[in-house]
Subunit: 301 residues, 2 copies
């Protein structure tokens, strides 16, 4: 207890994981303005969009435009989600520092999400990962439903490392382990990290929590007790949960910063600038974002 | 890590701390029906109302009626907030198993809240505590703003134990330490409990967290790592924050149960029955309660 890391690195995934789960559309010019605000906040990684086919994620169909128009801050690494070679080509043409590939630790969730079995997904990802590495890009592998699957229930750590082993063998730099439906409690985080950290170095593990049941901050605490120092989060808690309409999605960057800075951990991110960016997108979406820290700060300012 | 208590006891404070911060009024008959639902949920302590003068807490002006009409479950301890001898008399006449007195660890918050300095408050509380003990009642001392005060900022553990020492000397059975404005992070909980638990037994300490910035679940985890097994919470997260309109108040009992049961800790409370009671009061208030677990469960059922 009380032994927190000195520095923690946040990847802001609001423009991708957040917006893809929001019903309201945001104009491209507003996205660009907003991502530029995020770039000025001190955050060092931003996932700016997804090159998944627009049929699947219409909210991000302007990925190419967004990527071309955002102002690239020299201290920020910009990444995008790429599902296949076509997506990677578009992302490379648009401009990325990093490519994120994705699959699920759950067979059924993987099939529902990308229409392939886990084994059928591997060769596709292998090609994308190798090509992205050849292009000199950082590659992150998102592994979803690492704790629970909405179709299969509990997922074992062994199912998770089976997928991670392959992704690392294909050449990813790191993996981001996702509590996609936000069901995990800290004991599940411990069980997974016991297995994962006996196998891979801490620096190669990113934790990606959704706050669907309000457990994300506690899960981040537990992860830090295991030495994890990299987390994905979404500004304002942007993005709902596709499996529970009205429920919260990604953990809010604002709440994560409140925790980290309160514990004396350095992130390099300005809470004030992040709050301004959250209020900007909240206004564009015309709905109150779920971050409690944001609601609290906004009502007092 | 991972060494959680076997049992945790929750005091449901929604009917008092929750409702007193809600703008909408709930009819007495609805309160009675709702408290009866809570009594059937397995919860062992319910604070059913406050005998503070109705001028200060108009939402609870029917405390006497509520107390007379609720069905007393043999396994539940019913308590009420009492500010002074007049309040205690009314509470005793109405029927209580326990009386809760209250004051603040912050001089300014105490003055703003009860129009007296801390030292002026002591004799009033002493008389109430002694009288309640003479009547054979359990007495809890609420100490508010134990981490931060909206007027004074940071409160030291020494300020907190100064108040607790007096309350224990007057005869309270336990104290409930309140993060009244929901600003604490786990390192503050550690700092306070380091001092508090070097002085008083664990069983006499209740932690009372507000979730204004989404830190409450993490703070409960940290408290449990210190051996604390008693927490106050409010069904659905009922009750706002008077210092930040629109922001969250008490930690939601539903979220606490999700955490505790997920960790394998026994509470004796049925999540389903608690959810039904939360949906009942949500409907009466005509607003969505902040509990994420409730939102998630409600959207799926």
């Amino acid at each position: 207890m009380g032994r927190w890391p000195e520095n923690v690195q946040i990847k802001e995934v609001g423009p991708r994981d957040g917006l893809q789960n929001e019903k309201a559309r945001v104009a491209t010019a507003d996205k660009v303005h907003w991502i530029n605000m995020l770039s000025e906040s001190g955050v060092k990684e931003i996932e700016y969009s997804s090159f998944v086919h627009p049929k699947w994620v219409p909210a991000l169909s302007d990925a190419h435009d967004v990527g071309k128009r955002i102002k690239r801050h020299p201290n920020v690494s910009y990444s995008a989600l790429v599902p296949n070679m076509k997506g990677l080509e578009l992302a490379l043409e648009t401009g990325i520092d990093g490519a994120s590939v994705f699959m699920s630790a759950s067979e059924t969730h993987n099939r529902k999400n990308i229409n392939k079995s886990i084994d059928e997904s591997f060769p596709v990802l292998q090609e994308v990962i190798e090509e992205a590495k050849k292009a000199g890009k950082h590659v992150t592998g998102y592994v979803s439903t690492v704790f629970d699957c909405p179709y299969e229930g509990r997922i074992t750590p062994e199912q998770v490392v089976r997928v991670c082993d392959k992704l690392f063998a294909f050449g990813v730099d790191d993996v981001s382990l996702g509590d996609t439906i936000g069901t995990a409690v800290p004991s599940q985080v411990e069980q997974l990290l016991d297995v994962v950290l006996s196998r891979y170095p801490q620096e190669s593990i990113i934790m990606h929590f959704h706050d669907t049941r309000g457990m994300a901050i506690a899960n981040i605490m537990t992860s830090m007790e295991y030495g994890i120092t990299r987390f994905d989060s979404s500004i304002g808690g942007l993005g709902g949960c596709p499996y529970a309409p009205g429920a919260a999605g990604n953990v809010a960057t604002n709440d994560v910063l409140y925790l980290l800075h309160g514990l004396g951990i350095n992130t390099g991110i300005s809470e004030r600038k992040l709050q301004e960016a959250a209020l900007f997108i909240q206004n564009k979406l015309g709905k109150t974002l779920p971050s409690k820290t944001l609601a609290s700060a906004a009502s007092q300012s």
